[in-house]
Amino acid sequence: MHRKRNLLGHLYMGAFLFYLFVPLAIMGGAAFNDSRLPSVYPWKGWTGRWFAELFADQVMWTSFINTILVALAVVALAVPLGTAGAILINSISGKVRGALYGLMVAPILMPGAVIGISTLLFWNHANVPPGLHLSVFGQVSYIAAFVMLLVLARLQSFDPALEEAALDLGASHGQVLRRILLPHLAPALGAGAAIAFFQSIENFNVTLFTRGTSNTLTVYVFSKVRSGITPTINALALILISVTIVCAIWYEIARRRAERRALLLERTATLESAAMLESAA
C-alpha cells in the first residue's frame, strides 16, 4: 500500500517537473530554429543568427545595464530600510506593533500596478519627473518588506543578553550594533540582499508605470513580445535560463561539498574521541 503510494508520489513529482521544464526547453530550442517566427515546429534548420541579432541590439544592452543598476539601487535602499523596520518592530508590542506590521507587509499583497501608479502620482505632485529612480522607490516599498520579514525571523533567535554584556563591559552603542547585532543578522541580510536583487530584476508592473521612457529588461521583452516577435527573444530567454541553471548547479555543488565536509568532520571527531577513549583505557 505504502509502496504504491510512494510510487504515485514519485510519478507526480516527475510529471510536475516535466510540466515546469518542457515549456522552457521549447522556448530555448526555438532560439536555434532558422524561422522568422519563434517556434520549434516546423524545424527549418540550425542557425545562430538570432544570437547575433540580439547582441547587435543596442536597446537590449541599455535595458540590461539599467536593470542591473536599478537592482543594485533597490538592494542599497531596501536592506537598510527593512532592517531598521524589523529592529524597530521587534522592540515594541501591542496595537502599535500590529498596525506597523500591517503597513509594512501590505505592499507585498498589493498589485504591482497600483504600487507603480501611486508612486508615479505622489512624486509627480512633488515635481519629480518619472524615470528609473521612481521605479527604484516603487520597488523598494514592497521589497523592503521581504527584508523586514527575514530579519524579523532572524531576530527571534537573538540573545539580547549578549548586548547587555557588551554594554556592561564598556562597549559603545555603535560597537554593540557593529560587533554583535549585525554579525548575528548577517545571514538574513545576505538572503535579503539576494531576494531584493532578484525581485527587482523580475519586476515588471511597478517599472512599467514609473519608468518614464527608460527601459529595463522585462519592459524590453514585453515591448518585443507585443510588437512583432522574432526569435531574438528566445535567444535572450535561453541565455537567461542557462545563467540560472549554471547558478543552480554551482549552488548545488557548493551545498553538497559543505555537507560532505560536515560529515567528514563528524566522522573524524568520532574517530578521535574513540581513539582518546582507547588511549585512556
Binding site: 510536475f16 515549456p23 517556434s39 498589485p111 522585462t218
Partner: protein
C-alpha cells in the same frame, strides 16, 4: 522603545526611526493617499490645475458604471457596464486559477514534506526554484509558443491522431480566457506549492500514522489531519496566487484572445495610452478595495492572522 534607547543610544535609535518613517511615509502611505485624492479629481490640462474647474468629483468612479453592453453568464443574457465586466472576469478567472493551482500543488507539497527522502529534498527544491527565477514575461511567452496555431502542441496532438485538425487554443476552447488561465497557472503555481509545503512540514508524522493505525482511509487522514494543519499555508498560497493573477499584466497581454480583457489592461490603457491618470487612480483604488476584501475574506474563512499570510 525604551529598550532600543538603552541598547543603541539616541543617535542609532533615531536613525532606525527615520529610516522606517521614510519607508512607510514616503514609499507607502503618502503615495496611497495621493492615489486616493487624485481619484476624486478631474483629468485637466495643466493650465486648469488649481483653477476653478479643479474640484472634487466622483466622475472617475462613474466611468466604471458607464457604457453598459449586452453579455451573458451561464447562458443568461443581461447588460452590464463594460469595465465592470472586465473587473468581474478578472476576479472570476483569478479565482479559477487559484483553485487549479491548489489542486496541482497540494499533492506535490505533501510529497515534498512527508514522502520524499531527506537526501534528495534540497535538490528537488532547487529544481523547483529554477523556473521561478526565469522572468514572468518569458514564462508567459513560452506558452505563447506552445499554444500558437502552428505550434508544437497542435502538431503533436494531430500527429498522435488525437485531433483531426489544429485548434486555435489562444482564442479559447472553453472560454475566451483559456490561454490566460493556462499561463497564469504555470506562472504562479509555485507560489502555492511553497507555503503549503512549509505548513505541512511542521506536522508531526506520528499524527498521520496514528490516524492510519486507527483505521482512517487515506482521504480521511488528509481531510481531518493534514488539511486542517496546512490551513495557514493554504491561506497564504491562495492570497498570493489570487492577487498575483488579478494583478498580472504580462500574462493577459502575452496570451490574449480576441475577446479577453484583464482589469490591469484597462488600467494600463488609461494610464499610458489615454494619459488619464485620475481615472487610472480611481481604478487602482478599486484594486486596493478588491485586495482588502480578498485578504479579509481569507483571514475570516481560514481563521488565520495577517502574519500567517504574509511570510
Amino acid at each position: 522603545m525604551q529598550d532600543l534607547l538603552r541598547r543603541y543610544g539616541a543617535t542609532l535609535t533615531g536613525a532606525f526611526v527615520v529610516l522606517t518613517a521614510f519607508w512607510l511615509l514616503a514609499l507607502v502611505i503618502l503615495p496611497n493617499v495621493t492615489l486616493f485624492e487624485s481619484s476624486f479629481r478631474y483629468y485637466l490640462p495643466v493650465v486648469d490645475i488649481g483653477g476653478p474647474k479643479d474640484v472634487y468629483t466622483l466622475a472617475n468612479y462613474q466611468k466604471f458604471i458607464n457604457n453598459p453592453v449586452e453579455t451573458s453568464f451561464l447562458g443568461i443574457p443581461f447588460t452590464m457596464p463594460i469595465h465592470m465586466i472586465t473587473f468581474f472576469n478578472t476576479v472570476i478567472f483569478s479565482a479559477i486559477v487559484t483553485v487549479i493551482t491548489f489542486v496541482l500543488s497540494y499533492p506535490l507539497a505533501y510529497y515534498l514534506a512527508k514522502m520524499v527522502s531527506p537526501a534528495s529534498l534540497p535538490t528537488l527544491i532547487l529544481l523547483l526554484f529554477i523556473p521561478l527565477w526565469v522572468s514572468e514575461a518569458l514564462r508567459a511567452f513560452a506558452w505563447y509558443i506552445i499554444l500558437t496555431f502552428n505550434g508544437p502542441l497542435n502538431s503533436s496532438l494531430v500527429g498522435l491522431g488525437l485531433l483531426d485538425s489544429p485548434i486555435r487554443w489562444q482564442n479559447g476552447v472553453v472560454t475566451a480566457y483559456d490561454a490566460i488561465v493556462i499561463g497564469l497557472v504555470y506562472t504562479y503555481v509555485l507560489f502555492m506549492v511553497f507555503p503549503i509545503y512549509g505548513s505541512i512540514q511542521s506536522l508531526d508524522r506520528n499524527q498521520i500514522e496514528a490516524a492510519e493505525d486507527l483505521g482512517a482511509k487515506w482521504w480521511q487522514t488528509h481531510w481531518r489531519v493534514v488539511l486542517p494543519h496546512a490551513k495557514p499555508g493554504i491561506a497564504s498560497g491562495c492570497v498570493m496566487v489570487f492577487m498575483l493573477s488579478a494583478g498580472s499584466l504580462l500574462v493577459p497581454t502575452v496570451l490574449p484572445s480576441t475577446r479577453s480583457n484583464w482589469f490591469t489592461q484597462t488600467i494600463q490603457v488609461l494610464m499610458l495610452e489615454s494619459q488619464d491618470w485620475n481615472s487610472g487612480a480611481a481604478y487602482s483604488f478599486l484594486y486596493i478595495l478588491l485586495c482588502t476584501v480578498v485578504v479579509t475574506l481569507v483571514m475570516w474563512l481560514f481563521k488565520v492572522k495577517l502574519s500567517d499570510i504574509a511570510k
